[in-house]
Chain length 228, copies 4
Amino acid sequence: MKIKLISHTPDPERLVAMSARLCYSPVGAEDLVDTMSEAQVESLLNKIVEMEHLSTFEHVSFTFAIEGISRVLTHQLVRHRIASYSQQSQRYVSEHEFEYIMPPTIGANSLAKEKFEQLMNIIRSTYDELITIGINKEDARYCLANATETKIVVTMNARTLLHFFQLRCCVRAQWEIRRLAELMLAEVKKVAPLLFKKAGPTCVTNNYCGEGSLTCGRLAAMQASVKT
Amino acid sequence: MKIKLISHTPDPERLVAMSARLCYSPVGAEDLVDTMSEAQVESLLNKIVEMEHLSTFEHVSFTFAIEGISRVLTHQLVRHRIASYSQQSQRYVSEHEFEYIMPPTIGANSLAKEKFEQLMNIIRSTYDELITIGINKEDARYCLANATETKIVVTMNARTLLHFFQLRCCVRAQWEIRRLAELMLAEVKKVAPLLFKKAGPTCVTNNYCGEGSLTCGRLAAMQASVKT
Amino acid sequence: MKIKLISHTPDPERLVAMSARLCYSPVGAEDLVDTMSEAQVESLLNKIVEMEHLSTFEHVSFTFAIEGISRVLTHQLVRHRIASYSQQSQRYVSEHEFEYIMPPTIGANSLAKEKFEQLMNIIRSTYDELITIGINKEDARYCLANATETKIVVTMNARTLLHFFQLRCCVRAQWEIRRLAELMLAEVKKVAPLLFKKAGPTCVTNNYCGEGSLTCGRLAAMQASVKT
Amino acid sequence: MKIKLISHTPDPERLVAMSARLCYSPVGAEDLVDTMSEAQVESLLNKIVEMEHLSTFEHVSFTFAIEGISRVLTHQLVRHRIASYSQQSQRYVSEHEFEYIMPPTIGANSLAKEKFEQLMNIIRSTYDELITIGINKEDARYCLANATETKIVVTMNARTLLHFFQLRCCVRAQWEIRRLAELMLAEVKKVAPLLFKKAGPTCVTNNYCGEGSLTCGRLAAMQASVKT
């Protein structure tokens, strides 16, 4: 899995702070832009994060180029609807000699690994044979596996990202999308540490489990560690 | 492919007409509900469709249960973001002896068909073996094909549906999602014929090709047939 | 303020339960529709509410006709973006002898009330004069007050409604939209009590204050009452 | 009316082109970023605009600080739901000595102008009196006019902007929001001329009137001028 933050709104923390300031202060557009010190930005941001005044977070967005992920992951990913996607198309791009993603549980078991790799090779041959027979790419791809590697450009604003991290950094998310979420979080923290300082699953951010059952033990462990 | 319109806003055409009437007339909520004749509803709807005042179409929504479709289709389908989806999960539901969708171009070629069916059988065995080895369902599914049958419940409002039909009834859409779009359109026309009387690709509805290139020939053919 | 639930998805709780069931069980569309007992629906819904599996709530929507509210309220209301609105237009509908909404704090103070009513009368005359001079309605309305009565048709799905109730039933919301939210909640509880049994601000539903500061005292009071 | 483009995705045209390229070419994330010439960007963009492959336009967004506009305008503006807003709050910011927007039709008529200005002065006094009496700002504002000046920060992605320009640069839009749309269009054209070269109402961009009635005469005039 390789991700790259290829673009983002410049100076994202200042823009969020400016937007919040406009809501609550008698300032005009000019003043807004020119007159906030670093300290003011930071102090206002801390307040916004605390109050969960998240609409201001929407003004900044982040674009990632992602590769080395499976179609399992992207089928989950694109369910996040307040976001924009451009995915490499299996209708138009050949999957000859495609790469694939192997789940760690399969990689760790030699028999499972062998079966899996064998299958991927058979799929490669079948795909090539279908193409040779004259089946077009968009139909030949029906034989491709969920594991097939895909590439995607994703843009999310900071509010969507917070929601995404909340759901997908949770241990109940599948390993692949969780890994992606963790890598994305690491990237955005580099350019906007204040915006994302409270990002993560609700057990971490709000001491509360949205999944209801608590069976993962993470919240209990955290609460125990706080008490002792 | 099997689709069933399992629910929809009751009396959808009247609700759209009532909403439009509120925008432009000095009526109150009570009058709105009680006092429109069938003829008034129809005449107002015709005007709305003509004027493309589509925001009123959003008040009514339609829910479909769909099965016998591939994961190729659903990965395209869920890209329509102003809609709601509940899909059968490969994380939680076993794919032992899964069904699959075979593209017509493959089914029509005996060699391609044989290769494809052979592969599906190998995938079935591999999936079962992985499960037997102890791989959990969410990881074993990495070996499953795009062709694997899936089931989904979809809710769209009438405005989203118009947009969906515009893109997906177009001959440039892939055959499987186009078939789905045509079946869905047939269903909603039964319960709301006026709302969907102008539904379809823009060449049909607006005598104009949004795809830019016109290479499909459909628009040219229609224009020729109108002239003669 | 007068609200009327003029339409909703039929049998909403069953539809949500059916959608959730499809996600996790090996059932087809036919089975889905025909074979859930009332008890199964209830038990599954309780689980969904507990687990906050809210995407299934989106399949059902509710349409309200609302009147006797101010433009203050609707300017706040239409900021909820995952929803559909048809509002009586001041561009096309005359505001001659408009009604208006008076805040309770103004109504409770005789001097304030007098000033307010006097102003509304002056605005009425000015509006009529502008129209008489030949100013069109869309421009004459610039003189109208925020207090001017308006009418609106609103459709929200159950997930949006939960979010709306969370924000707008909170004591920090302004009195007018809070009153609206409470009336809407009462209406939907009549037709879908299980879906909305946990609806309200987070202090009520999750023992947690999203507003950060806790200064309203509601959460503290609830926690105290639980302890004793 | 004063607008300022206070932020936007850096190098927006290249980002759109890169995203489109990923969809249709066998390139990876690294290549994507590093290897497109200016000429390639331009040629690809022209194709995208022609084909209306607008999903790629969503990756870039633009943030405006706007002041000197009325609450009439913002009530229309915030109906565009795929966008983000931070508006100066009348609940928290005093409207003592507020500015206001006078429609040109009123300004051009001395009697209308006098009536309008008189009213604004009365409203100012009433507002101040209510505050003096002890009414809080959020309730005192019920007496304020639609004309009252407001300030707002708006973020829209390029696809939303195209839709916004389509509806709001149309002569059927009210003068104030049309003026805003024209100013915004002028701003974004400076930083992304290729993305917005076809922006405007459908009569201009597609030789087609979405308003149905053609009564404005703009399309007919354009068609006549093309023929001669």
